[in-house]
Point group: C2
Chain length 126, copies 2
């Protein structure tokens, strides 16, 4: 028996992966599960109001604090909290200080949803 | 603005959810994201060799340590590690001591895969 090994899939340590990049609002893919990506991102500041027409989007807070504003309420996520933004729901992630999140959603999801624009970035494997 | 609220989805704290049950090898659903469930489970001892013909299965270690045996190697997951067992791959989870995991897979997945038997249990919301 070997631990991990080059053949086949290997385990991933989330915190270790966060050490490999510093830019904000750039989703990095750490795993795929059927038609879903598991991604991580560092967030700071405010993103853009947007929605995903067909994809639910799960946020899991690894470090820090994240405010997810919806049109009628807001959710504050602390470490260990998760929240699913339902498909079609406008949302605005806001991180007053640096926050680390794991994002889980179908591969088809675009980070800026239906809004597009210059902050649209395709996720990359890390 | 209200925090959470009864209308609409609410946030979930993973560790808090683990406090609501004690039985081993019983997956509890904490969220759904399109056709996926996010589930949690407490594991102790050895499960059964099985595979999921169509579903990849992600394990994320929240607490403790988990050994995932494959037929040709084994993976040791510590806190913060994740691993995806690819569809069609036989695997045997083994936890020498109590381990807490988050499991992510399509809703169609059955806990005992193609093996079935008395340890087959449908996941329940918690």
């Amino acid at each position: 028996m070997v631990e991990g090994g080059k053949a086949g899939p290997n385990k991933v340590n989330l915190v270790e992966k966060f050490g490999h990049f510093s830019e904000y609002w750039q989703q990095k893919i750490v795993a795929e599960v059927n038609d879903f990506y598991v991604k991580i991102a560092k967030l700071q500041g405010s993103f853009e109001w947007h929605r995903h027409e067909r994809e639910d989007e799960l946020f899991y807070l690894v470090k820090g604090r994240l405010l997810i504003r919806l049109r009628d309420r807001e959710i504050t996520l602390n470490e260990g909290d998760l929240f699913v933004v339902p498909k079609g729901t406008e949302h605005l992630p806001v991180a007053q200080n640096e926050a680390w999140v794991m994002v889980l959603e179908p591969k088809t999801a675009v980070n800026t949803g239906d809004v597009g624009g210059e902050r649209t970035v395709a996720p990359e494997w890390i």
